[in-house]
Symmetry: C3
Subunit: 334 residues, 3 copies
Amino acid sequence: MADLQHVLGPADLSDADRAAILELARSIKATDGVPVPSRLRVGALYFDPSLRTRASFEQAVRVIGGAAQTLNPADTWNIELDPQAVMDGTSVENIVEAAGVLGRFFHLIGVRSFRRPGPWAVERTEPVLSRIAEHAGVPVISLEGATHHPCQGLADLLTLHEHFGDDLRGLPVTLCWSWHPRALPTAVPHTFLLQAALAGCDVAVAHPEGLDLDPEIVAQARTAAEARGGRVQVTHDRAAALAGRRVVYVKSWGPLEGGAPTPTSLRHWLVDEAALAATDAAKVMHCLPVRRNVVIASEVLDGPRSIVLDQAGNRLWAQAGLVSHLARRHGVIA
Amino acid sequence: MADLQHVLGPADLSDADRAAILELARSIKATDGVPVPSRLRVGALYFDPSLRTRASFEQAVRVIGGAAQTLNPADTWNIELDPQAVMDGTSVENIVEAAGVLGRFFHLIGVRSFRRPGPWAVERTEPVLSRIAEHAGVPVISLEGATHHPCQGLADLLTLHEHFGDDLRGLPVTLCWSWHPRALPTAVPHTFLLQAALAGCDVAVAHPEGLDLDPEIVAQARTAAEARGGRVQVTHDRAAALAGRRVVYVKSWGPLEGGAPTPTSLRHWLVDEAALAATDAAKVMHCLPVRRNVVIASEVLDGPRSIVLDQAGNRLWAQAGLVSHLARRHGVIA
Amino acid sequence: MADLQHVLGPADLSDADRAAILELARSIKATDGVPVPSRLRVGALYFDPSLRTRASFEQAVRVIGGAAQTLNPADTWNIELDPQAVMDGTSVENIVEAAGVLGRFFHLIGVRSFRRPGPWAVERTEPVLSRIAEHAGVPVISLEGATHHPCQGLADLLTLHEHFGDDLRGLPVTLCWSWHPRALPTAVPHTFLLQAALAGCDVAVAHPEGLDLDPEIVAQARTAAEARGGRVQVTHDRAAALAGRRVVYVKSWGPLEGGAPTPTSLRHWLVDEAALAATDAAKVMHCLPVRRNVVIASEVLDGPRSIVLDQAGNRLWAQAGLVSHLARRHGVIA
C-alpha cells in the first residue's frame, strides 16, 4: 500500500498536488454545474462532532458526482487500536477489521479523530488516523486529526489566493491567538502555520507564554517557508506581530499537553478593531465556529475585514478539488 | 436579499406560486420517473425531532435530481441568536455565521424549529427561522416552525384537490380539535386553517374553550377565505361544526402560551364513527403521527373515510413541487 | 399484497431468486462502474445499532443508481404494534401508519429489528418485521431480525462461491460456536446454517450444551440440505466437528431465551490455529465485528485462512444484487 496517498496534513501533498487541487477547486467552483456521475464512493467517519465539515465534505463528494456517506462510530462503536489485544472489555471491534471493511465499501475514506486525552508525544503520531490509513487499503483524508486539519488548510489557501492573487510569497500573515473559555486543540493553528509557510508567506505567530505550538511543526514550517522565500517568526508581543500585516488568522488554542481552561486574565487577547488598527488593512480569517465578542468582536466579524464566510464556503470547493484529485490519481474517476 | 423567497407559512406563496407548485407536484407524482440530475444542493436542519419530514424532504430533493443532506444541530450545536452577545457561555456559534455558512454550501435550506418555551408574543415572530432567513443568503423553507408547517399545508392541499377536484371554493371542511395527553403546538392547525382559507373553502374550526388559535392568523384566514368566496367560523360546539361537512381535519393542540397537559375531562373529543355520523360522508385527515383510539378511533383510521396515508404520501410530491419551484425561480435549475 | 416479495430470511428466496441475485451481484462487483440512475428510492430503518449494514446497504442502493436513506426511529419514535391499542402512553405512532407512510415514500424498505426481551416463542414470529411487511405495501428486506440476517447470508454465499466454485454441494462447512462476554442473538448462526443447507453443503454445527439453535430452523435446514445432497449434523464435540472441514464459520451466541452472559468456563472455545489444525486447510469466516483473541485469535484473523474481509466486502455486492432483483421483480427498475 506504499502507493496510497493519504492526506493527514498539509505536507502530505506536494507543491504539484496542491497546484492541481487548487486548479480543480477553482474550476468546480466557477462552474457549480450539474455533477458528472461517477462510481466514486466516499465514507466519512466521525469520532468527534462536526457539522460544517459534515456538510461540506458530503456535498464536496456529490459536487463531483460521487456518493458520500457520513458515519458516526461514536454512537455505536468502541474501537480497539491494538491488533493483539484480548478484547474481553468494552471494545467490540478492532481497527484492523473496522478500517479493512470500510476500505472494501468505499474508494476513499475521510476520518475525524481529535486529539484525545493523554500525552502529546503519543497524540502527535495520530494513533487513530495512521492506523486506519495502515489498514484501510484506500486513501484516507483527515477531517481534522490531533496534529492537523488539512481540508481547512486547503480552504484557507484557496481563500488567500482569491484575495491576494496567484503568488503568496512574502505575504505578511499573522496567526494570532485569542482567548476562549476552553483549552482547544492545536490542529487548526498547526495547519495554518504550515500551509502558509508552504505558500512562501511571511508568517508571524503571536500567542501568550506557555502556549507554544509543536516545536517540530514550527521547525518544519520555518524550513518550508525559507525554501520558498518566506519566513516564520514566533512572538509573545501581539502588537508587534500585527503591525503592517495583510492577513490576521485568529484562533484560540490550549497547551499541547491539554488541561485546564485558559485563564481569564488573557481575555484582553480578544481581537477587535483597536487591535487591528495598526495592520495594513488586514483581512481577518477564522476557521469557525467563532465565539463573538470573546474570540473576535462583532464589529470585526460584521465589517469589511472579515473573510470568514469566504473561508468556510471554500471548504466545499477545496474538498471537491482534493477528493477529485485523489480519485483521479488512484484511478477511480477518469 | 429582498429578492429571496422564503417560505415560512402558507401566505408566503402567492396564488400563482401555489398553482405552479401543485402543477409540478402532480406532474412529478404522475411520472415518478428517473430523476434528471441537477446541481441543486439542499440542506435540511432539524432543531427538533422528525422522521416523516426527514424522509419525505430528503427524497423530494432527490426526486428532482438534487443532493439533499439532513443535519442535526441539536446533537452538537448550541446556537446564539443575538449577534452582539458576549459568547462566553455554552453557545459555540452565532446564528449569523451558522446561517451564512449553510448558505454558502447549499442553494436552499430547510429548517425545523418548533415553538420553544417562552411567551407566544415572541415565538410567533419565528425567532429562529426568521434569523436564519435573514442571514442565509438563500431561500429558507420552514419544515415546521412555531407558527406554521407550510410543507404539510401543501401536501394537504394536493390531497384535497385529488379527492375534491380543481376548485375547492365553498368546500365544507372542519378543523376539529381532539384530546392528546400532551399540549401540542399549533403550527399544523394554523396552517390547515390558513391553507384551506386561501383555497376558498368554507372552514369551520371546533375546539374547547381556552384553546383559541392565534387571533391574527384566524383573522388573516377569514380575510383570505372571504376574498375567495369562502368563510371561516370558529365554535366550541363540535356537533354543529361537523354536521354536513365533507372533510374533517383532526388535530390536537394546547394553549398558545403552552403549559399543562390538556385535562382528561376532554377525552370525549376523540373522533370516532359516532362523532362523524352527521357529516356528509366526510373524509378524515390528520398530519400524523396519530395516537389511535385517543385522537382518532381505529375504526375511522382503518375505514374508507381515512385519507391520512394519502396526505402523508403527498408530502413527498408537494415538497418536490415546492423545492423545484423555488430552485427554478432562483435560477438553480432550468 | 400477496404478490409482494418480502425477504425476512434465506427461505424467502427460491433457488431461482438466489441464482439471479448472485449473478447480479457478481456482475455489479466485476464492473464497479458508474451507476445507471434509476427512480428507485429505498429507506433503511434501524431500530437497533449498525454501522457495517448501514454503510453497505446505503451504498448498495447507490451502486445500482437508487436513492437510499437511513432512518433511526430509535432516536425519536416509540412505535405501538397493536392497531387496536388505546395509545395514551408513550407510543406516539402505530405500526400501521409508520409502515404505511414509509411505503408511500419508498419503493422498498430495509428494516433492522433485533430480538427483543421476552419469550422466544413470540420473537421467532418477527413481530416488528412481519407487521411492517404487512402494512408497508412495498417489499421489506430484513437488515437482521430476531430469527435471521438474510443479507449476511447472501454475502456469505457469494464469498463461498468465490472461494469454492459454482457448486457448493457436499462442501464440508462447520458453524463453530465461540465464547463472548455477552449473550448474543442467534440470527446470524440461524442464517448461516440455513443458507449453507440451501446450497447443499455438508453442514456441521458445534456448540456447548444449552445453546441449541431454534429446533424448527435446524429441521428446516436439515430438510433443505438433504434435498440437495447435503446434510446437517449438530454436536457438542468441537474437535470432531472441525476435523477435515474446508470452512469454519465462527460465531458466538447465547441461549434462545436470552439471559445471563455465557460462563467464562467456556472461554477455551476461542478459535485459534491449534483448534483449526485438523481441518482441511479450512477458511475461516465471521460476520464481524469480532472480538480478537476472545472469539478468534489474531493469528487466525491475520493469517491466510481468514476470509472475513472478503465476506464483509461482499455485503455491498450481495445487497446490490438483492435490491436490484427485487426492484426489477416489482417493476421499479427495468
